[in-house]
């Protein structure tokens, strides 16, 4: 039996896969340009020279996308428990503790309400720096609560994905979050409220196989890795090198699985325009 063919979640916690560090200057990982913090901020955390999109977390996306000072975080007190008492080479509780102290984030997702060009929106954004952006019970629960809040306030729902997949340490409970998050989107659809999915680097596994691919409109950032199986697992399966650009945003656009690829600097205006058009048909 080809058990080695089985898909892994491709959660990588090595330092190269973390979000960009905070510092006075940053070296572009693609073109090696030294970029000063202020310049980086002005370019929405992309490289002014080569357009490389740095991996950023929820705090920076709030700044990039929402009206200044409009964001009210919700459910920050919803925290991961350890229902299965999971221990691999380290206990899950130790991994969580380290992630909290290293990132100062509540979990792999931040959710809340804010405004976008004055329009009220429910907003969620994943944090790849928190255990590989992995989806466990907390991500699922906060996604559902944000979706409900969108319905209660008749707001569109904007969600930014960045995840290696479901969180292994919560096993089947993590898997069920795929169904749980998809379920709230059916209610949002019944309420005829737009759900805009923004897919960023990387989005694979359980997150791609649920809410990331269910947007009324799906927008990808340039060159983001987006797929179900991770490239390494596919290479092991087919015993071939994958072609250049495989599973990147441009590849998904070509194959019909995302609507648009939008530069992060343009994202705010595009989002606003799309939402206004979709909401304009309501009566």
């Amino acid at each position: 039996m080809a058990w080695f063919l089985r898909k892994s979640k491709n959660i990588n916690e090595s330092s190269t896969h973390r979000e960009m560090p905070d510092g006075l200057w940053t070296k572009c990982t693609e073109c090696s340009t030294i970029i000063y913090r202020k310049e980086l901020e002005e370019h929405a955390f992309t490289c002014p020279k080569c357009d490389h999109h740095f991996r950023i977390g929820s705090n920076k996306y709030v700044d990039v996308l929402l009206d200044k000072g409009s964001f009210n975080e919700m459910d920050a007190d919803v925290r991961s428990a350890d229902p299965l008492k999971f221990v691999d080479t380290r206990p899950y509780t130790a991994r969580l503790k380290e992630a909290y102290s290293r990132t100062s984030l509540p979990d792999a997702v931040t959710t809340g309400m804010g405004t976008l060009n004055g329009r009220s929106v429910a907003f969620g954004c994943m944090n790849f720096g928190f255990i590989g952006g992995s989806m466990g019970s907390v991500v699922g629960e906060k996604f559902v609560r944000a979706g409900r809040r969108a319905i209660e306030t008749s707001s569109p729902f904007i969600f930014i994905s960045a995840s290696g997949g479901a969180r292994m340490q919560e096993a089947a409970l993590s898997l069920m979050q795929l169904a749980k998050t998809s379920a709230i989107l059916t209610e949002l659809a019944d309420a005829r409220l737009p759900y805009i999915s923004i897919v960023t680097d990387p989005t694979t596994g359980g997150v791609s196989a649920s809410f990331a691919m269910l947007g009324d409109v799906i927008i990808a950032e340039p060159k983001a890795l987006i797929g179900f199986a991770g490239p390494r697992v596919i290479e092991q399966t087919i015993r071939k090198k994958l072609p250049e650009g495989f599973q990147r945003s441009e590849f998904l656009l070509e194959h019909g699985f995302v609507d648009r690829i939008v530069h992060r600097k343009e994202l705010r205006q595009e989002l606003s325009a799309i939402i206004e058009l979709l909401m304009g048909g309501r009566r």
Partner: protein
């Protein structure tokens, strides 16, 4: 068809059975019938003991036993009038997911399940039960048809995972699974899920959202296979037993955290040892579950299904 595969922990049982068989061949010449009967009683006690104390990894092995009944076996033995329907109407027919029309106790149902092969040839054709996007899209089509005609759906989960292939990605494996989750969460007809063997990850859940989630006693269901979990978290393939323990992937484990509703008992020695007994048990359970669900108004059914999945997960605060 039986491969007579013996799992490691079944060896003492098989050895004793072989001894009994030898004695039987001598029984005409010697008066040893009482000894044979005593050994037969012993073998049943041994089997019951072994199967009562299975480790999680041993259950994974039973779930993968090559003689274990697969979806088509259940479709032909628990149901009547099975008519297979093929294709996703877009790309091709995926033999790793089968489906069609049937009757259960006289009532029409739509049946869908992962399908593994029995030998090398059929396993290549069925891709070891690992679907491509067109398999999920065939399921989507059958699910939609079930809603249209008000026919209940029964899904059977048995896959080592959705296929991690190049073309599967090109054709949108993630989108195909996501689309099914979205449809099943609101489908206006009863859905009963049974995990009959391996329930690996999104590939299993892609046809696994329903009103009642049943699981055979020795099936497993989790976010990842123990070997892959071992390779990622332990950075070695050698820790599959520990991974299976950590993942808590058995039916009793999952019932205790609310992921499944009901455990369907297998015959002693596993479904592969007494398939007919297994078919009879499952037919009775499905008939009973369907009767209960048929009494629920459709609006409540969909509401309850969504609430059931909203309740899944454990968090603090």
């Amino acid at each position: 068809m039986a491969t007579n595969t013996t799992l490691d922990f079944e060896k003492p049982i098989v050895e004793l059975e072989q001894k009994i068989a030898e004695m039987r061949s001598l029984a005409d010449a010697l008066d040893i019938q009482p000894q044979i009967e005593e050994l037969e009683a012993q073998v049943e006690i041994l089997r019951a003991n072994v199967y009562r104390e299975l480790t999680r990894w041993q259950r994974v092995q039973i779930a993968r036993h090559p003689d274990r009944p697969y979806t088509l076996d259940y479709l032909t033995h628990c149901f009547d009038d099975f008519i297979e329907l093929h294709g996703d109407r877009a790309y091709r027919d995926d033999p790793a997911i089968v489906g069609g029309l049937a009757t259960l106790d006289g009532s029409p149902v739509i049946v869908i399940g992962h399908q593994k092969g029995r030998d090398t040839k059929s396993n290549l054709r069925r891709n070891f039960g690992m679907p491509n996007p067109e398999g999920y899209r065939k399921a989507y089509r059958l699910l939609s048809m079930a809603e249209k005609f008000g026919i209940p759906v029964m899904c059977f989960l048995d896959t080592p995972g959705a296929y991690p292939g190049l073309e599967a990605e090109e054709r949108g494996q993630a989108e195909a699974i996501a689309r099914n989750l979205f449809l099943m969460a609101q489908l206006k007809t009863p859905i009963i899920i049974t995990v009959i063997g391996e329930g690996a990850s999104g590939g299993a859940l892609g046809i696994g959202v329903g009103d009642r989630i049943l699981m055979l006693e020795n099936a497993w269901y989790s976010v990842i296979a123990p070997e892959s979990c071992s390779s990622i978290l332990w950075r070695s393939w050698e820790y599959k037993e520990q991974a299976a323990e950590a993942l808590k992937l058995t039916a009793p484990d999952l019932q205790s955290v609310g992921v499944i509703d009901r455990i369907v008992n297998e015959p002693v020695g596993g479904a592969h040892r007494s398939p007919v007994a297994m078919f009879n048990t499952l037919r009775a359970v499905l008939t009973e579950e369907l009767k209960d669900l048929s009494a629920v108004p459709i609006e409540s059914l969909v509401h309850n299904r969504r609430e059931k999945f909203y309740a899944m997960g454990v968090w603090a605060g």
